[in-house]
Amino acid sequence: MSSILNDDETLGAFLDRYRSMELLRFLTCGSVDDGKSTLIGRLLHDTDRVYDDHRKALEEDSKIHGTQGDNVDLALLVDGLKAEREQGITIDVAWRYFSTARRSFIIADCPGHEQYTRNMATGASHCQLAITLIDARHGMTRQTRRHAFIAALLGLPQMVAAVNKMDLVGWDESRFRELERDFLAWCARLGTPEPTVVPISALHGDCIVHPSTNAPWYRGPTILQLLESVPVMKPSADAPLRLPVQHVIRPSPDFRGFAGRIESGSVAVGDRVQVLPSGRQTRIARIARDDADGGDLQSVAAPSSVLVTLVDEVDCSRGDVIACVGGAQQPVASTSIEADLVWMDETPLLAGASFLIRIGTRTVPARVVRIRHVVDVDTLAQHARDSLEWNEIGRVDIVTQQPIVVEPYRQMRSLGALILIDRVTHATAAAGMVRSGDPHEPSPRRAHWTTSPSPTIEPPAGRSASESVERAARWRQRPAAILLFGAPKSGKTRRAFALERHLWQQGHAVIVLDGQALRGGLSRDLTFSDEDRSENLRRAAEVARLLLDQGMVVILSMVAPQSAARDLARDLIGPDRFLAIDCAQASEDDAALFGDVEAFIRPDQTLGEG
């Protein structure tokens, strides 16, 4: 090999060059015999990165295990395990390292045989670019489609297809264009970014490092040119802060630091943050670092591993997430997750099975309650099925025993990626991606909100399902919930009871649910945080819903400061049965209020006739 240092280069000049070099992680995949190992061997060989003693060992191995006659078999540079060399296949993901003058590379070589889905997903979870090999003679196979599908599922931003063994089809341009069209069409269906397709011969080295004279019709980049020029994906410092806590460091009673890796965004001393799932807010006191390493930092960004301390003594431990406050994108503490799974266990998944789920740094018991569908990777059709088999991909609903902080994978990879662990064997049974559009509300308490109807309960003997209608008819009223809301001391409670008195005197069946009174019992566990105020409103609305079913008019007197929570209450009760009145805005005149409410609960014609 040639040395890393250029002949006339000084160490200082090299170090400067090295510091500006970027690191790109990519994977290679393809079917057995498509030539992945040969491609990687060729990359190492043609960039002159094979040590002389390795080269010697390779020559010896080639004589025993080689498949290239008297020639050196470059695949043997990569196939590390004995069984692999003997069987001439690659068994497991192999990690390779090489660098050129411009970049360092980490390669995940993902074999394409039996455990292809598993291997491919594993490699893809660490990489930003996938090179899929296609044998020019065979064209796109089931495996090619699968590989591209998994790359798309895991959200790899860059795709390359290398059409290999072009020498065996006589460097036929029309054959190449046909395969290129096929691959582009498939990627378009998957919705991946547009891939680059390169004609190569890994065996002979065409279009890998050096351009090929065999394909004058090809004007695109070689594989190495691509690898050296695609933009390297870096976490953005402008993204929202996510710091999953790994470990609490307490060397003395007066220091309590939270250690973890910033997965997204950045953080500065003094920043207001929240600890999830509790939602407690505080500020960053220190970004602590040993003086020997340069001392404390004022700010730091992903993907640094850091140690922070917080201004207030809030509960925070492993599994919690320190996140920025506000912003469009909010993680949720959820007990109910919809996810796509790549099933990796030989034992199939059946609905109802229980596991441990790990997201970020939290691991909790969980159950897969439902398999929504299994994807046919060849046609992308979704089939309803009651099991998910080894290497299959499907969508499921998962219920966890404790809340776990999640975000859709497409939006925030670090809180959207999950693994399922078998509780008995401890095998990693599945890799999963939390779906976007997950139906959970953006705060811990509001996760309880649901607008789905209560389960239908058969009325007991002697009672009629239509009794609520009969009651409403008797009392000459339309059941309704009247929400009087506003800041404390805005007169809600006084007006609520005045309204109740008035309606009572008119012969209506009416009841007041007072927010403060609820806190004495039903909501005794709640605080006065926004989340808990929202939860108090939810509980009041649920009680109101039950009373409305009995034909009552319910007056809710609540602070209810969040319009989003009031909207949820409206959806829960039903917009036609819900009237919200802002006590800060409403007229002082009680008579006007009474008139509005009376109009709202006046029975319509059909009900009146009944």
Partner: protein
């Protein structure tokens, strides 16, 4: 951090610290395998950094075959003392009694008894459920398939065909009683990365990495340093004083020196940047047979 460019080494450091913290948080009795060499030097530095201002929440374990270079042992003790670390040293007493030596029994038996068996004894005695080591994937072909969190059964065996898939940075660290993990925070580092990190952070290393005149014997194509008089001279052998250094360190009768004038860290790095052979070339242990590292790993070698 904002004031300077994020480099490849920053990336590797952040990843390694993340792994070390996972190991500390997820296991009951982790231990750091400290082998005194350059990789261990980086690993220990990262462990000190990962848990600062606390001490690393695990002891250091050194498997002493009694054939390590004397300078390695004094460096080891000095390092533990300087950082106030809990250093535990284990030697296979049975092997010692049998007089197992790399010189008379060869590297294969010696490594099996005094390293692999000794390691198993020490791990069982300490009931460690995670052994953190400084192995790198670029060292040797069979290591290229090693996981970062690598499962070992009750007999400390590695089964390359039944490894757990490792996704994103969320390791599955669950083990049953008696089972364990090997944890490799430097998996993605290359030899060059290790040296550049040592250079950048000015980490002290065993002086054997730096060139100086040393008494060596040429044997089986390697330059073996005569660190003490247990190394008997064979017929025709003679001790010569050569300016040498070591690219890797192990038991002295098994470690080949290279002739070099690199007597500073800078020169060592520069020499390595001009190297055309791999670091393991100087190790007898890997040359016994093709695939020998894989065999040793299956048996529980680190």
């Amino acid at each position: 951090m904002h004031d300077r460019r994020w480099t490849h080494l920053d990336d590797l450091e952040a990843e390694a610290i993340h792994i070390l913290r996972e190991a500390a948080a997820c296991f009951e009795r982790p231990v750091l395998m400290y082998s005194i060499g350059k990789d261990s030097t980086v690993l220990l530095h990262l462990a000190l950094k990962a848990f600062w201002p606390a001490k690393p929440p695990f002891p250091l374990l050194h498997i002493d075959t009694t054939w390590k270079f004397r300078e390695m042992i004094s460096f080891r003790d000095e390092t533990a003392r300087r950082h106030g670390l809990d250093l535990r040293v284990h030697t296979n007493a049975e092997g010692l009694r049998q007089g197992i030596s790399p010189i008379t029994h060869g590297s294969r038996v010696h490594t099996d008894v005094m390293k692999t068996q000794a390691l198993r004894q020490a791990l069982e005695a300490g009931r460690y459920d995670a052994a953190i080591g400084g192995a790198r994937r670029d060292e040797e072909r069979s290591r290229a398939k090693e996981r970062i969190f690598s499962f070992r059964d009750r007999n400390h065996r590695w089964d390359p065909r039944r490894q757990r898939p490792e996704l994103w940075n969320i390791p599955n660290t669950r083990v049953h009683e008696g089972e364990s993990m090997r944890v490799f925070p430097l998996s993605n580092w290359t030899e060059l990365d290790v040296w550049l990190y040592i250079l950048e952070h000015r980490l002290p290393v065993v002086p054997l990495y730096l060139a100086k005149p040393r008494p060596v014997v040429e044997r089986d194509g390697l330059l073996i340093m005569r660190d003490d008089d247990r190394l008997d001279l064979r017929a025709g052998e003679r001790v010569q004083e050569l300016v040498v250094r070591f690219r890797t360190l192990g038991c002295y009768p098994l470690s080949g020196a290279v002739e070099s004038s690199a007597d500073t860290l800078e020169k060592v790095v520069e020499e390595m940047l001009r190297a055309r052979t791999s670091e393991r070339q100087g190790r007898l242990i890997d040359h016994d047979q093709s695939g020998s590292m894989e065999e040793k790993k299956r048996e529980g070698y680190f």
